[in-house]
Amino acid sequence: MTAAQLPLCALTGSATARRAARLAAGFAGLAIGLVAAAPSRAGDALYGKVIEVKSAEVVVLDYGQGRYDVRIAGIDAPAKGAMTGRSKEFVTRLALGKNAQMRFEGRNKAGEMVGRLLTEEPEQGIKDVGLELIKAGLARRQKNYDYKYRELSAAEAEARKAKRGVWAQPK
């Protein structure tokens, strides 16, 4: 097949495309107004297996020749109360023993590797652990932090609307 025969952008006309286009159109304005909320976006990933879940926020990733404590980027899981256990259990069920990719952002002062954690299992497909936690209402989005296309905000809004997890509790 030649390039000339190739289909145009697969997003054309779809709802996803329209939403993405609206998002894109808003970027220019958002960029100036939301400097403090600069979302994260980069590759440089490490692939391995999650061998321990220390908390809902921190897991241990074994990449074969070494291990890292990985802090899941952008989430703020409950530090106490019943929800703490539920959050950790959620991460354990989703990630422990699974092959996973850490999409690295930076190392924090505690020496933890901060990044997105994507599990990859044939039966589950790819799951973004942080995003799933927020979507389930088992963690809040870190203040001033979001993914590139504001996916964390959208997930948090969805959980809040559905009154899941932390959003089910009265203030």
């Binding site: 390039a3 286009a21 894109a24 400097v35 440089d44 990933a45 990859e120 296309y149």
Partner: protein, 853 residues
């Protein structure tokens, strides 16, 4: 007979002064122009890729991570002088139809010789995306989506009838390739190959050999702070049925996959291995594969270096020991290297982030260097600071969170073609003054990196492309500059009988002297000579210009020699030759009436050429490299040995032969006719030449007075030397003209914002006038951009009135009235009255208008 000896003796302090400043540090041969901010966008852009169209040296495309959506994208149609955007958002892959699937990051680019621009990146939905532009980055077509999967770090390479993409998926390197048979004609991609032995291997590169073989490199393991290995796999049959072969360890390195160094302390760096083939068929190392990477000789020392190895068997075995590319003597970091080879010459460019000037080892400037492929192994020129400003690792930091985030990112970009290297990087110095976030966020910066300037003036006094200043007084014809891309400049030197001599500060020799009397050049497929009458009797009315042996008279617009080559009248009453590889040669003649001979000052600007009498020194050599790339070694202590080095070994090596000569000769003469006297320059006086009465010297004080208006210290010293030795005051006048040429000569280029256009569709032509001499940014700002007007010319006819230049030296002409067909648009620059700049005429820019609206 009066000799000059007594004059020298009485003026030792003056001579000593000449020696002192002539021995001062030289400037680097590799030089950048003023940095350009491509993005000028809010928030940050980093991890830039950049590519140059091998079918059109004026077209560039750059793509970078963008913090807030899509990928920052910019294109240039004037060789990187100005940048425009394929979309008003300055982004592509932002979710808008026709601009590619939504992007996460990690852009990669490749431009093939059909004109196909391949653009790869990580999609936002865990995919690798490949899109194609066939119009220089104006519009895009989706080509391939890989995934969804846990993918990372795609890299695309194109050429030799193929396009390849490699990436990391689920911890292993993968590859897919497709045949390419023309512009926009891309075959089906083959099935995904899993590259053997690459578990926990990533952060690498891919390159296509002239044979079609494909080589990838990756770093193993991906985690940790080192040591690690760089593994290379070769797919020997390229698109054939065979897979990649077993992994070969090209080298170990102490830089791990996530190695935290002071200037990139939260993001870390990896070895950032990069590959590039020498694909110039006439290069002595055609098919050689270069590997650049980062090493940390003392593990965890934060003193990382840029290293290079090469393979002459497509990656099976590698040179050892590695070549250290950076030449600093500090214990600070060099990181994020990028390599590119010039396909036309085989020259190798490497650029990187460099903290050598950072006391805390925590800021960086972009540095570059270049090497020729001539020697057995490449010898890099002195490193040159290219980035004008100092950047920190805080340009992608969300301040509220107090994080440094991804800092400079994991790589920077570099394109190299036809004499200009174009690095692209994340910069928060705001040296351009137009970063909307000033110094708090990165913008995407670029520069144009080239060589020179170089000069061959007066007696002849040589300024090499790497800034060494020495006298070369042989008689005969010599290759003064050449490049494997086909450029060659030769000069003829004729002896001058003198009654005395002066010492040259650099060589310490007091030999007899000579003069440049003719110049010849290879310009693309043409041979150009500028020499006295071939009869041997100089005509005071002027020198003769010949193209391919035919006597030629130039019009004001000059003569187009094709492929970007041109010969035109210079503003210095001589000629200007523009070579296809961006080199500009300006020849300024002077008439010495009493001797009835012409002499020539030869000035070269922004040349990528590194070889010849005006070429660059091999590392550790006191003179430019010999034709085979070898070094003459350090300067000998004994004067006689220096004389033998320079005038026997070096001059003999670069002397023109009957086979290599570019000159035109009268019947019965050859190049050897001009090797006379055979012992020239004599090491010591007498400096007599048969049938040539010796010229009379004048006292140094008188010469200094005559040369008093010359500003450059080197040129003034040369002038004093020439006038004192020969007694000819006219040298001062010629030096003044050359000084004007050096500082004020300009190049005007014309670009269009779209091509082709339809009938009645508006198109804007921009003329950019730039000074030929690269100046440091501060100096450039102080002296300002060229002022005056530009007269646009359409198909040879002037268009309306001249347009005043703006403060950036640009003038624009917008029209929607072009008739269907192919047009030639040019520009004539006329400097403002009293300005230091000299006029120039552009080469024609073609523009096509298609039928129909």
């Amino acid at each position: 007979m009066r000799t000059l000896t007594c004059n020298i003796a009485s003026l030792r302090p003056a001579v000593a002064a000449v020696v002192l400043f002539a021995g001062a540090a030289s400037h680097a041969q590799v030089s950048g122009l003023t940095d350009m901010n491509m993005s000028k966008m809010a928030n940050y852009q980093n991890e830039c890729a950049i590519a140059k169209n091998p079918t059109n040296k004026l077209q560039l495309f750059s793509l970078c991570n963008n913090a807030t959506g899509g990928l920052f994208a910019a294109r240039s149609t004037d060789g990187g002088g100005t940048w425009v955007y394929p979309d008003p958002s300055k982004t592509i892959a932002n979710g808008t139809a026709g601009l590619g699937p939504l992007a996460c990051c990690d852009p990669t680019l490749a431009w093939d010789t059909f004109g196909n621009l391949f653009i790869g990146y990580l999609g936002n939905a865990n995919t690798v995306e490949l899109i194609l532009s066939t119009d220089g980055g104006q519009t895009f077509t989706n080509l391939l989506t890989i995934g969804p999967a846990t993918v990372d770090q795609p890299t695309v390479a194109a050429g030799f009838g193929a396009v390849w993409v490699v990436w990391n998926q689920s911890g292993q390197m993968r590859a897919r390739g497709a045949a390419v048979t023309g512009l926009g004609t891309v075959g089906a991609f083959g099935a995904m190959q899993t590259i053997p032995g690459t578990t926990s291997c990533s952060f690498g590169d891919v390159a296509i050999a002239p044979s079609g073989a494909v080589v990838q490199v990756c770093e193993n393991p991906t985690g940790g702070q080192g040591p690690a290995n760089l593994l290379v796999n070769t797919d020997a049959d390229g698109l054939g049925p065979g897979n990649f072969g077993a992994a070969v360890t090209a080298t170990s390195t102490n830089v791990g996959g996530f190695d935290f160094i002071t200037p990139q302390n939260t993001r870390s760096v990896d070895a950032e291995a990069g590959l590039a083939f020498d694909i110039n068929p006439t290069s002595p190392h055609f098919g050689r594969l270069y590997l650049v990477y980062t090493e940390e000789p003392v593990d965890e020392s934060n003193d990382t270096d840029i290293m290079l190895r090469f393979s002459d068997d497509t990656g099976a075995t590698w040179s050892n020991p590695p070549i250290r590319v950076n030449d600093d003597a500090t214990n600070r970091a060099q990181f994020l290297p990028r390599i590119a080879t010039n396909p036309l010459s085989g020259n190798i460019a490497v650029c990187w982030h460099d903290a050598r000037n950072s006391a805390g080892n925590n800021t960086m400037q972009v540095f570059c260097t270049i090497a020729t492929p001539t020697g057995a192994s490449p010898t890099f020129m002195a490193n040159a600071q290219i980035g004008d400003g100092v950047s920190t690792g805080a340009g992608s930091s969300p301040p509220a969170a107090g994080q440094l985030d991804i800092q400079f990112g994991d790589y920077a970009g570099l394109a190299y073609f036809q004499g200009l290297a174009h690095p692209a990087w994340a910069d928060n110095s705001n040296s351009t003054g137009d970063n909307p976030n000033t110094t708090t966020r990165y913008d995407a910066y670029t520069d144009r990196v080239t060589g020179g300037p170089a000069a061959n003036e007066g007696d002849p006094h040589i300024t090499t492309v790497d800034g060494i200043h020495y006298d070369f007084q042989s008689a005969g014809e010599f290759v003064v500059l050449r490049d494997a891309d086909g450029l060659q400049i030769q000069t003829r030197q004729s002896p001058v009988a003198t009654a005395g001599v002066l010492a040259n500060a650099y060589t310490g020799l007091s030999t007899c002297v000579s003069l440049n009397t003719a110049v010849a050049a290879k310009v693309g497929a043409h041979r150009v000579t500028f020499q006295p009458n071939s009869s041997g009797v100089p005509d005071p009315s002027g020198l003769q210009l010949r193209v391919d042996g035919n006597l030629t008279t130039l019009s004001a617009a000059g003569l187009n020699l094709g492929a970007g080559g041109r010969v035109a009248p210079s503003a210095s009453a001589g000629i200007q030759i523009d070579f296809p590889d961006e080199t500009t040669l300006i020849v300024t003649p002077g008439w010495w009436a009493s001797q009835r001979r012409w002499y020539l000052n030869v000035d070269v600007f922004h040349t990528p050429a590194l070889e010849g009498v005006m070429g660059a020194r091999a590392r550790g050599s006191w003179l430019p490299a010999l034709p085979d790339g070898t070094s003459l070694g350090p300067k000998p202590g004994a004067a006689h040995q220096r004389y033998l080095d320079l005038y026997e070994k070096f001059a003999g090596a670069w002397r023109v032969t009957d086979k290599t000569s570019l000159f035109d000769y009268a019947p019965g003469t050859t190049t050897s006719t001009f090797n006379f006297p055979a012992d020239w320059p004599r090491e010591n006086p007498p400096c007599d030449v048969p049938q040539q009465p010796p010229v009379k010297p004048i006292p140094l004080e008188a010469a200094q007075k005559i040369c008093g208006r010359i500003a450059s210290k080197f040129r003034k010293a040369d002038c004093v030397f020439d006038v004192a030795v020969t007694g000819h005051a006219g040298f001062a006048k010629t030096y003044l003209v050359s000084q004007r040429v050096q500082t004020g000569s300009t190049t005007v280029t014309v670009s269009d914002d779209k091509d082709p256009t339809r009938v009645e569709q508006a198109v804007t032509f921009t003329a950019l006038v730039a000074r030929n001499l690269p100046l440091p940014r501060r100096e450039a700002i102080k002296r300002g951009a060229p002022t005056g007007t530009v007269q646009f010319v359409l198909d040879g006819e002037k268009v309306k009135k001249p347009v005043p230049l703006d403060r950036k030296g640009m003038a624009r002409w917008r029209t929607s009235e072009l008739k269907p067909g192919k047009h030639e648009v040019g520009a004539i620059y006329q400097p403002a009255k009293g300005s230091e700049f000299l006029s120039s005429i552009s080469s024609a820019q073609s523009h096509v208008v298609r039928e129909g609206k």
